[in-house]
Symmetry: C2
Subunit: 334 residues, 2 copies
């Protein structure tokens, strides 16, 4: 490791974070069930079968943004990690690190949003803990949520199941969450009519689980669609080719990104699913998503034999490589 | 609620914290499985039976102290909440909120201690997440751990099972952790040969689970022995009478507490068990604890019909009431 102290780059979703997690956390804490490449672990429970477990910390700034707040995000984020693992979320635990001076009315808005999000996903918060830290040792509130679920379909999913010819789909427009949070930061002095897409993806994953030929699902959060596709390419050793004209991006997201120099391919979504399905199942997967309120779901690319690389085919037919994120362009979006 | 903003008193283990949790968190997030009076929840898992779930946040200052650090504490604390619920811990999840500028060598010491504590308790950390927060928005590191376990003995435990005549036992000297952390704070300018008792209590709880007549177990952390006894008195409507001469307190703990005006009855332990057993089982419980390396385990009191109150019988035969903690005398000990 090139660093002697933690820097912000260790949290920015790129190479340094990966090195911190694999080189330090996993080296000390490794065990057969800890897989730093997946967001949820399947673990045996006595003679009773198996549960699926995931956990996430939330430090988004600002704490409230169009379309949600840190409370709803903490529930959606953890619910979604279980959902894309093919699990039905059952229980959450909640830790709150609250900074002295936080307004109680604001805390109450987070809890109300959390409650609504939990009700929507039919999960129960069964254990919690609160700690108060002195003023200047937090930033309002940090939440940590752990999710526990069960797999009901018995369907095996994973990057290892992806084959050349498979299609890549997204359940809706990309980049909304990242752009909405960015605009909510006063530093940009911009206001748009954009809202975060933060929501439970359970309806989408439940619909996709009914489609034969489903190989893999992931929610494209930190690092966005490009990062998921890059991971698929490197895990499968294949080329993933995305068709830029087919990728749904809302006009205001496109405008803001062009103005500020961001690439929506790399911006976080908090209510979308990237899925990979067998070629003959692509239309069924699309129809399944559209049937649960995703009119903009789209087939956006294909897996092809070849080098391990993620490629974007542009409107004009040119190709550009989607590189691994070195440094998150937009820190603290979750 | 009398406050409009979060104050440090909301985190200090006393009345304001209880009001925050019941009046705000539980009001919004309540469900049949969320019981703010217990540290671990028993929840059904599909047709597969039941798991036990607990969660805790850790903000101890200083991050390292004689006998442990925030890493070992985060594992022990969560393991122990499962252990006193009669469960065998299986899995942990870990969230780390790391402040920019934390020395990597120090972080590595926390993870090594965490690993050793997990190995000792035979638990696996199966999911984790790291977030880096900017300098001045943390205090080195905060950890949040969630624990998942199973009950193997089928023994029902709870304050509701306590009867008049039952005996109260502790597994070892009280107040070590609170005193050790306090001394590790430079502000006191004191150094002692005291170490925290932070450790897994699994050997103790496993031994006690073999004793017929076991009613209840709890680890006396924030608020110490007095707070557990106070809770027992109010949950059962009975008088709990502790014999001060029988309560094990190490001499250096007693000296430091006398010097600084603390009461060891209210100081946190992180490796002790308070248990309540039927009168005819008290000697067996004592022997069980001594057989697993607790030579100073002791029978310290008795439950008696009468008013709901916690009473300390002093060396001279006088009685004094152990009041509910209004404000933790020693914040951030876990």
């Amino acid at each position: 490791m090139e660093f002697s102290h933690i820097s912000l780059a260790h949290g920015n979703g790129g190479r340094f974070m990966r090195e911190l997690i694999t080189g330090l956390f996993a080296r000390h804490l490794g065990n057969p069930w800890l897989d730093t490449d997946v967001d949820a672990a399947r673990v045996p429970i006595g003679d009773h079968g198996e549960i699926v477990v995931t956990t996430d910390g939330f430090t988004v700034q600002p704490l409230e943004f169009p379309g949600g707040n840190i409370g709803s995000l903490a529930v959606h984020g953890t619910v979604n990690d279980l959902a894309v693992a093919g699990a039905r979320p059952l229980y959450l635990t909640l830790n709150a690190f609250i900074e002295e001076g936080l307004e109680l009315a604001q805390l109450e808005r987070f809890l109300a949003a959390m409650s609504a999000a939990a009700t929507e996903a039919a999960v129960h918060i069964v254990a919690g803990d609160t700690k108060v830290v002195p003023r200047g040792q937090g930033s309002g509130v940090y939440f940590a949520t752990t999710g526990i679920g069960v797999r009901e379909h018995g369907i095996e999913l994973g990057m290892g199941r992806i084959l050349p010819g498979d299609r890549v789909l997204v359940s809706g427009p990309v980049g909304d969450h990242g752009t909405a949070v960015m605009l909510a930061r006063e530093e940009f002095g911009l206001r748009g009519d954009l809202a975060s897409d933060a929501a439970s993806v359970l309806p989408v994953t439940q619909a996709l689980l009914g489609v034969p030929g489903l190989r893999f699902m992931r929610d494209p959060t930190r690092g966005g669609l490009a990062t998921v596709v890059h991971e698929i390419a490197h895990a499968t050793g294949a080329t993933v080719r995305l068709q830029e004209p087919d990728i749904p991006v809302r006009d205001p997201v496109r405008s803001v990104c062009e103005m500020l120099g961001y690439d929506p391919m790399y911006l976080a979504c908090e209510g979308r699913v990237v899925s990979v399905v067998a070629p003959e199942s692509a239309d069924a997967a699309l129809a399944a998503m559209r049937s649960v309120g995703c009119p903009e779901a789209a087939i956006v690319g294909e897996v092809a034999a070849g080098r391990a690389q993620a490629v974007l085919v542009t409107e004009l037919g040119g190709e550009r490589l989607l590189e691994e994120l070195e440094d998150d362009p937009l820190p603290r979006i979750c």
